[in-house]
Amino acid sequence: MAAGTGSGRTVSATFSPVRGWLLLPSWLVIGIFLLVPVLLMLVYSFLTKEFRGGVIWEFSLAAYDQFVFDRGLFGDDPPKIEWAYITIFVRSILQALGATVLCLLIGFPTAYFIATRPANTRAIWLFLVTIPYWVNLLIRTVSMKFLIRDNGPLNEALLAIGVIDAPLQLINTNFAVQLGLFYSYLPFMVLPIYASVERYNFALSEAASDLYAPKWTILRSILLPVVKPGIIAGCILVFVPSLGAFLAPDLLGGAKTFMIGSLIEEQFKGNAGNWPFGAAASMILLSMVLVVLLFYARAQSREQT
């Protein structure tokens, strides 16, 4: 397997003697300022809370316990299930799933459409879809809030046309949060699907058509299976950030739409905070994300064997 020097090898060992030095900075920076902090956070989740924020270095399972059980303030009452936090977690998962489905319904046709444009216009379409992503997420969320609030332009327009009689209560609802999440992460669904469809060989569709398959059957039975990796990647890229999102629920939602992100943020604000609890909630969120990513990685490697 003598690789010729003209064979286009691009992974090589030309710098291998110094690779240790080259990789050291990234190892140090990420190791010290991310890996260690996450481990420290794990430790904190097992400590006792200090009343004005911070921790007492005493082992305690109180933080995790607090999620599920309500132990009452006094005495040895048997623990009752505390539903509040469980609800928050379940709601977050449902919201994230909802956002993913919404992104898929709109994102897939969009990605497909762009990928089937002629080469010169394709880049422009793609550019148009990605530009909004580059606008600050905060600004995007604020603009969405501005749009759908009670006396906002959307309601004004609908009132003016006469579709509705009174302004729609859009803000501070689950729907608003859904919309916000969908709006935040839509490009993440479009891009991987676009990449997959762009690589798809349409001769397969032509062959199927030649063999009497109707168009939508072709889409379902031929295109989708081939494009599946892109779809899965897109779903993961929307689901994971949605799960831990903070801005959309905070700005567009209210007390009734509390999600994990807001729950965690609350624990570190001022004097009402409970650091170990916040750390525990973060650990649980991180674990959920890692589980999803692990499944994805395993599905990937199984695909390749």
């Binding site: 003598a2 010729g4 003209g6």
Partner: protein, 358 residues
């Protein structure tokens, strides 16, 4: 005179795959030496070992008596012309050619002089300020050559430098390269899979296959006296007929073929009776006649004829599975009126048959 390159027991493994096994030979000073073989035979690997881009798994490499296999490429006075030229795209022709000189710390004046010399040598005067993307394939090739020769290397390595050029250009460059080697006196080590190139340009050729050297010799030696079946088959065209030695007289052997017919052939070394092998006869050393010729001949039936301009190539069926390819110049065929299906005699030119041990 010390050899330009002395290889001793060189071995290269890539994981469990052995690309080169126990290669040992010398390349002489001022020689145009070619490594020839099919893809995967190890010729490029060997070149890269000499250049320094790979480490030897075992064995030593000496350059004019100095051990170099532990030196990195930028410490070896050996330069390479890459197959895809690898011209630095952001530098113009002059900067590319002068690169090594800059690295070696030559003064600006010396660099300018030498670059001008090299540009003159490859005749690219008007293109000096162009970037590689503005040059044709042939021009890029000449820049690559000039760049590698500018620092006056002791040995020049060329990795299939002509493979990307079209036929006419390739033929022109063959003459060019030969001329350059003669004029500069630098030892050239040339890698190719094209045997015509190897035969036409080289002083000596090393034929390689599957990581081992099959034979080293001059083009004439390789062609006329192949050492084994692989070389006979790889170089030019040949007929290979299974046979067994009946009697031997030094290197001359009398051997019998599968169908019982008998031939005389020349072997590479003294052999004993009963040795099995193949007889190799080049198609141009065979003649087809309708009437029995003087001397030994084989009988068969004439098959298809392929007209090739100057020659015609015939297929002659000898016995059940034995067919021979015969090539004859058309000026000698006209008189005979040969037709497919005719019974014919095939005679062998004196001394043309070679017996090769399995």
């Amino acid at each position: 005179m010390t050899s330009a390159i002395a290889l001793n027991g060189v071995r290269k493994d890539f994981g469990t795959f052995t690309a080169l096994s126990n290669v040992s030979f010398d390349i002489k000073d001022n020689e145009f030496f070619t490594l020839l073989g099919p893809s995967g035979c190890g010729k490029t690997t060997l070149l890269r070992l000499i250049a320094g881009f790979e480490d030897t798994t075992a064995g030593t490499i000496h350059l004019y008596g100095e051990e170099i296999e532990n030196l990195p490429p930028n410490k070896r006075p050996v330069n390479t012309v890459f197959q895809n030229y690898a011209l630095f795209p952001h530098m113009n022709v002059a900067e590319n050619i002068g690169f090594a000189l800059k690295m070696l710390g030559w003064t600006k004046t010396d660099i300018t002089l030498r670059v001008a010399e090299m540009v003159e040598m490859v005749q690219l005067g008007q293109f000096v300020h162009r970037k590689p993307s503005q040059l044709s394939g042939g021009q890029q090739q000449r820049v690559a050559l000039a760049r590698a020769m500018a620092p006056k290397p002791k040995v020049l390595l060329l990795d299939e430098p002509l493979s990307a050029l079209d036929l006419k250009l390739r033929q022109e460059m063959r003459t060019e390269l030969k001329r350059l080697q003669r004029e500069t006196g630098i030892t050239f080590i040339f890698v190719t899979h094209d045997q015509e190139e190897a035969l036409s340009m080289s002083d000596r050729i090393a034929v390689m296959s599957s990581g081992a050297v099959q034979q080293i010799g001059s083009p004439n030696q390789i062609y006329e006296n192949p050492a084994n079946r692989f070389v006979a088959d790889f170089i030019g065209e040949t007929n290979l007929i299974a046979s067994r030695v009946d009697t031997a007289d030094g290197m001359n052997v009398v051997c019998s073929l599968a169908d019982g017919e008998v031939l005389t052939a020349l072997a590479n070394s003294p052999l004993g009776p009963g040795t099995t092998g193949v007889v190799s006869i080049r198609p141009e050393s065979l003649t087809v006649t309708k009437t029995a010729p003087k001397g030994e001949s084989l009988r068969g039936t004439l098959g298809d004829a392929v007209y090739l301009g100057t020659d015609t190539q015939y297929t002659v069926q000898l016995a059940k599975e034995l067919t021979l390819k015969v090539r004859m110049q058309n000026q000698f065929i006209a008189s005979q009126a040969l037709a497919k299906g005719d019974p014919v005699f095939v005679s062998i030119a004196d001394g043309a048959a070679r017996f090769l041990v399995d």
